[in-house]
Symmetry: C2
Subunit: 512 residues, 2 copies
């Protein structure tokens, strides 16, 4: 019953979001951005120059201090929100209350970035922002930052760790405040700002921070500025995210590395054991064969299915761009597949390969796996199922280093090291809030906004619901080909300019 | 017919080698060693202090120069034997002709060592030799090198790259010359010495060197001093070695690393593809499933089977020591399995694991494989079979980097990079030469010498037959638990003392 009602609501909402009925409201923000591109870029480059891996406690604090200073200049009453856990990266909070406003929105972004190996970057370094004429893969060349006043090509790309994920969010949100102020536009809601410092580490202290500061974080909804826009370049509003959990899976061979000539064919090879175990987890078409893997999945509602059907199909173009000759998923589209749980190998390691390889039987082999979760999945239970699968394959499973005796006694030994995680989250697509958010984004967009039930990526949005009972809506701004989480991360400049307009539109959101 | 005759000969030979009929002839060498341990150790430590990876051209030349100097001091007329190929590591040659001798033996060892990552060593460095009270794995503790005159415990271990593999061979051979000279013992044969400088790199220029210096290398047989003694600690004489070949196998995923949330479940993961491919190559019991893998194997003769049956069975103890709960090979013994070809994964690599892992779909995954070969196998043909297997699994196979177009067109793309190799070699076990070698080694050993048709490891002995038509017999001296080819390589001191006696006994070998 509830589902049917929501289905109806989604129809209305889809109508409300169509460009015909939501006239463009760009106005002040676009003018402001046009006149201040160099200043915005300069401030952004400064922020991107501070290394921001969550585990790098000292630099994370430098980032937080820089953001505090950026917010202080804008009169946003900034402060650090600390976790109870000593040394955890703080969140940065600020606010701009609007006299007479009934509603409050919190604007979220995160200022930490994924760890990265600088040697893997091509011609630039993660924390030395650099400009290219277009994407590296498209032959983009390095150019110096232009003098103030010179034209900035909107297709240029800014290369740096977190240029897109997710300091772009911080920058777009704070610049939107400038844009409103410069054009004398009053926000329609109370504005709160929350910038997290360890999202890429799995947000281990976010629940602590939210609970400890529940009062000042009181709001009607959170706008999550993170992730990429749709691959077609169309702006998108996303009502959910997948959950994620990851683990290290190590299997064991002989107690010491053995000469492959003297012991090969006799001493079992852990690299081969790992290969066999991984191969047992997933069929060639991508279907995960772990028992119960899909059992908890809460099916999509009518309105969510409709949204999926209405979303642009971009798979063919993606296949060409990414060199994917045959996708997994047995014919399902990428968007459909993102509404299913997944199992991915992040990396493999056993001894050495190539020029550094030696003719040995290694002692161990390790795979790091990540699992994405959808509504209905629980991250601990999903790992439990994987562990059960490993056991069913004949392994003796430990969650610590196995002892010598255990390795002597059990032919197959696996160590599972859980690396934490969080569940998926999905806000209903048919509410007045949802409608207002889409309308706001549509107001600064010529093409129809894409609305999706879930993003493929993960954000700890379930934590907001669990800690604060808060609805979240995700409004990404980065280009989809941003090399997020990898080397050569970048942001297309036009995506930053558009992002500022989108955030400004959300700060002047209509009634909900 | 030939086989039956050889079988008979093996019986005679086995009789000749029994301790009852070959009285100990230790004599001078043992006394010499007993009186000169400190000097021998000092000279050895100097030699081990020179880094000796074959690719490190400069240091390889320093090793060759050091050995030239060691041989000059002994009056062995040393010289470098260069390959035609510019820059290839030279062999070091020397000789000591015996007036009136009819026979000539060449003593072979190699002075280069396997590449190694110093950070993997525990408490010592590869080219800073160090002494431990026993094996590291048995709790051996570091001790300083004792003052001259102090007792040297025979169970102490010398830790350094090539302490056993194979500078121990160089040291034992040259010290044996000293021992004979000190005791006024005349060699029974002409002695030639040949120390190779790139065995661990697969001896790519050995054939060139042998062919270019065919005249001075003329001899009745080569004594190959390399590899470990039997796991029981008994001395062994080995009449063959396995061949070896290796290759890098790389499979491909998307053109750029992809966020596992936004593309997981859709873009195929090369780490998983590699796991599936490797798992297809070998059954859980260790049987290689590549078509034709065992087809060319020349069965063992009667005498070789008898030798295997007579060899000590040490598998149970090895299982305990190495932590191998269930060996591969479906019940066959280690010694039997070493007479079959093998497939081993030397290492795996795809993106990163553990703390450095990121939630990405990697672009490639690589395994380095080695294959051991027995008589009948050809190393190129064996790799061809593997390539055919990869094709049969549905892969488009290239032997260079695939193009973007190839990756777009073919769902499964594999790159095979052949890393060279050589074939197995086996000298018949029933000849007078074989009998004389075993008798010589038996003369310095209380326990019966183990005779084996083949060593599990590989040496480029087929090259000696192909280039010079030479018979080779392998007489190893290193302890079997020497961590050869891995970190923490070591030599048990008693094995060096025994090795010197063995080499001296071979220099005074009986009639053949």
């Amino acid at each position: 019953m509830k589902r049917a009602l929501l289905g109806l609501a989604a129809v209305c909402f889809a109508a409300a979001a169509s460009p015909a009925q939501a006239p463009e409201r760009r106005g002040g923000a676009r003018e402001y951005v046009g006149a201040h591109r160099h200043e915005i870029l300069r401030e952004f480059v400064n922020l991107l120059s501070i290394p921001n891996v969550a585990a790098d406690r000292e630099n994370i604090r430098r980032n937080a201090a820089a953001i505090i200073e950026m917010m202080r200049r804008r009169g946003l009453s900034p402060r650090l929100l600390e976790a109870k856990t000593e040394g955890a990266p703080p969140a940065v909070y600020g606010e701009l209350l609007t006299p007479g406003a009934r509603r409050t929105l919190v604007f979220y972004a995160h200022y930490d970035g994924q760890p990265t190996d600088p040697r893997q970057w091509s011609g630039t370094e993660p924390w030395k922002p650099a400009l290219r004429t277009r994407a590296l893969e498209a032959g983009g060349e390095l150019i110096p930052f232009p003098q103030a006043g010179a034209a900035l090509d909107p297709e240029w790309r800014l290369y740096a760790r977190s240029a897109s994920d997710d300091k772009a969010g911080v920058m777009a949100i704070l610049s939107a405040v400038d844009a409103l102020r410069a054009s004398g536009t009053k926000p329609s809601v109370n504005l709160k700002f929350f910038f997290e410092g360890e999202e890429e580490a799995g947000s281990p202290h976010l629940a602590e921070i939210l609970s400890a500061h529940r009062e000042i974080l009181r709001a009607d909804a959170w706008i999550i500025c993170d992730g990429p826009v749709h691959q077609s370049g169309r702006k998108q509003v996303v009502f959910g995210v997948r959950g994620v959990t990851s683990l290290d899976l190590t299997v064991y061979g002989p107690l010491r590395p053995l000469h492959s000539g003297h012991y090969g064919n006799w001493a079992p090879n852990p690299a081969m054991t790992l290969a066999r175990l991984l191969a047992s987890m997933k069929a060639a078409d991508g279907r995960v064969t772990i028992r119960g893997f899909y059992d908890d999945v809460e099916p999509l509602g009518e309105e969510e299915r409709r949204a999926l059907a209405a979303a642009p199909q971009y798979d063919e173009e993606l296949r060409r761009q990414l060199g994917v000759a045959r996708p997994e998923g047995a014919g399902k589209s990428l968007l459909e597949l993102l509404n299913e749980p997944s199992l991915n190998v992040d990396g493999l390691r056993s001894a050495e390969v190539g020029a550094e390889a030696r003719n040995v039987i290694p002692t161990t082999a390790t795979a790091t796996l990540d699992m994405r979760l959808v509504r209905g999945n629980d991250h601990r239970r999903q790992v439990d199922r994987l562990v059960e699968h490993v056991r069913a394959e004949g392994f003796y499973v430990v969650e610590r280093e196995p002892t010598v005796e255990e390795r002597r006694r059990h032919p197959l030994v696996a160590r599972v090291m859980r690396r934490g995680g969080y569940n998926a989250e999905r806000t209903p697509m048919g509410t007045p809030l949802a409608r207002a958010v889409v309308a706001a984004v549509q107001s600064v967009s010529k093409e129809p906004v894409v609305s999706l039930p879930t993003l493929g990526g993960s954000l700890p949005l379930s934590i907001f619901r669990e800690s604060l009972g808060a609805d979240t809506v995700t409004v990404p701004i980065a280009n989809y080909d941003n090399n997020q989480h990898a080397e050569n991360e970048n942001l297309r400049l036009q995506n930053l300019w558009d992002g500022i307009e989108m955030m400004a539109a959300l700060m002047t959101i209509g009634e909900f």
